[in-house]
Amino acid sequence: MESFFSEDMRVLVQGITGTQGRFHTRLMLDYGTNIVAGVTPGKRGGEVHGVPVYDTVEDAVRRNEANASIIFVPAPYAAEAALEAMEAEIKTLVIITEHIPIRDSIEVMSYAEKRGVIVIGPNTPGVIVPVSCKLGIMPAHVFKEGVVGVASRSGTLTYEIAAELSRSGLGQSICLGLGGDPVVGLSFVDVLGMFERDPKTESIVLIGEIGGNAEEQAAEYISSRRYPKPVVAFVAGRTAPRGKRMGHAGAIVMGETGTAESKIDALKSAGVDVAERTSDIPRLLSKSF
């Protein structure tokens, strides 16, 4: 996955000394991720699983040439952490943190755009390239190396579908969680562009859900440019009532906007196979080979 999953990725963990940060640093290291440094203000000089800890991102970057960062910092400080990373020239940013205020996310995305930084999340399980690298919190064992690119707005549902794919012998080239918040960095459209350019990815699964219009935009993108790789989609939330937030801050139907029907209709019109059940996805994908 060229644009941000380069061979020489040197990863920083922000909030490395917290429970989550510490736990997942261990799992990411085990998976083979090249973690070079961690940051927690006030904890300079410490170590987490052999990874040196710094007070500031600038310091960590200067001494370890980190170029990507994964953020486990609590919500009230997470946006600040993202801005700090960007100011220190970090170019790929995975924000795991949930419950970041929208206002803060908007600011982060605005800077990211101005500085050409790729942001994944917030409120994302992260990204995994089976079986070489993991920048996230997903359970590694459900993923298998292969040629299906997966992009999703949800966490556990992605594991469910990845597990179905793996069981059916359909490994994944990369799985990306875009994040369950209303305002996130990478969109389906961005990711479709990356998948198209990625030689390893042969077909794509999009896992959408109610709220917003990211799926409609993906459909528009697919149909307008006659997208060259087969795409299968699943959209969660057909049964969701209006005006209620379904767990994710972003999963809400506002008025007529963001219904599952709208998304499914748009995707189908764009020629995308939309699965009714997660268990149908492997079959629909196989059809396309």
Binding site: E107, S110, T158, R245
Partner: protein
């Protein structure tokens, strides 16, 4: 978190945005007394946190204080969309020359705030956008540059106003943006914003939805998340929220819980696909403890509408043994005999499944299978 109309108006007024003169009352007598300082004609408005109160009779007019008192009494006895009317807002009715709409919302795809204005005030703005898009003015706000006075001026000018009116209107728009930021609003609107006969402007209705995730910056409002009367939530929803669970009440009879919002939504969808009706959405979240799982299940079991509970767990951070223990604890504590259909896979699944099967509880492996089973059980129950 939704604010009541009277609260939103108070905030607007504090920030220099004109609102009608009025007062809050929780009894006809109080309404009568407070109306004495107001000039007729009046309007009486139910203070409930649901849309469509107008159509439900929650907004009525009065020309005398006696009539106002009588109407207040009537509205205070109403229940609108399941919510009891506890208070009414009594106000002087504005002498309307024209009605505008102005609001600030989040534009997800552009990832910024967007200012929306229209001369079609008083109507549902989404309907206006769908039917007469030419009547809608939208302006994306650069998050760093902000919504400046001149942006407000541009909108007011584009709405067709000029001179003093335009300046006054622009001032109101600009102030509303400042309120939006200060209160971390994910939606704020004045609808209608009325231009009166004497060419003043007054926010006749106002709505603020605060970003729940930002409430730590607004401690005054934070505790309200857990107060039934100050939210649009049901008793069960409040209880779930207190336990840190994401819960939404639905109309059906199959109680559903799982871990992860997307997975639970998909579970609901699968149940419906098999002809069943979900009673709720309940996400226990990631890495749920024994206690949290138990509390979640207790909420579902104690819901009288529920004929069967479907549990769908795909353990990642969440451990299946913890889930199994939580299920047993809830069953013991509630002594409910409602059937429970369980799908339990992922981290520590052998241990989790063992704990349950030892107690004679069957555990399924696929979501689809579990959903089908739950629907089957619910049908038996109902028939």
């Amino acid at each position: 978190m939704k604010l009541f109309e009277f609260e939103a108006k108070k905030i607007l007024a504090e920030h220099g945005i004109p609102t009608p003169r009025g007062a809050l009352a929780s009894s006809p007598a109080e309404a009568l007394k407070k109306s004495l300082t107001l000039k007729p004609p009046f309007v009486v408005k139910a203070q409930v946190l649901v849309a469509g109160r107008g159509k439900a009779g929650g907004i009525q007019f009065a020309t005398t204080v006696e009539q106002l008192s009588q109407i207040s009494g009537k509205i205070l006895e109403m229940e609108i969309k399941g919510l009891k009317v506890e208070r009414v807002l009594i106000e002087e009715k504005a002498r309307t020359k024209s009605e505008l709409y102005f609001g600030i919302a989040v534009d997800r795809s552009r990832r910024c705030y967007v200012a929306i204005a229209s001369t079609a005030g008083g109507m549902n703005i989404e309907e206006v956008a769908a039917r007469s898009p030419e009547r809608i003015i939208k302006l994306s706000v650069d998050p760093i540059f902000g919504f400046r006075n001149f942006h407000a001026t541009k909108i007011a000018s584009d709405l067709g106003y000029s001179g003093k009116s335009m300046m006054g209107l622009a001032g109101i728009f600009h102030r509303l943006y400042r309120v939006a930021l200060e209160y971390d609003a994910e939606l704020i609107e004045m609808n209608p914003l009325v231009e009166t006969d004497d060419e003043d402007f007054v926010a006749v209705d106002a709505r603020i939805i605060m970003d729940d995730n930002a409430l730590y910056r607004h401690p005054n409002f934070r505790e309200r998340l857990f107060e039934e009367k100050k939210t649009e939530l049901t008793h069960e929803e409040i209880r779930a929220r207190k336990a840190g669970l994401a819960y939404v009440k639905l109309e059906g009879d199959i109680g559903i819980m799982g871990n992860g919002a997307g997975l639970v939504m998909a579970t609901l969808d699968t149940v419906q696909l098999h002809g069943g009706k979900p009673a709720n959405f309940l996400d226990v979240g990631g890495g749920a403890s024994v206690d949290r799982v138990a509390e979640a299940l207790k909420i579902l079991l104690s819901d009288p509408r529920t004929s069967v509970v479907l549990i769908n767990i795909l353990g990642g951070i969440t451990r299946c043994d913890d889930v199994a223990k939580g299920i047993l604890e809830a069953k013991t504590k509630t002594s409910s005999s409602k059937p429970i259909v369980i799908r339990l896979v992922g981290t520590n699944e052998e241990e989790g499944q063992r704990i349950l099967t030892q107690r004679g509880i069957r555990v399924l492996n696929s979501m689809d299978e579990a959903a089908r089973e739950a629907v089957k059980v619910s049908r038996k129950k109902v028939s």
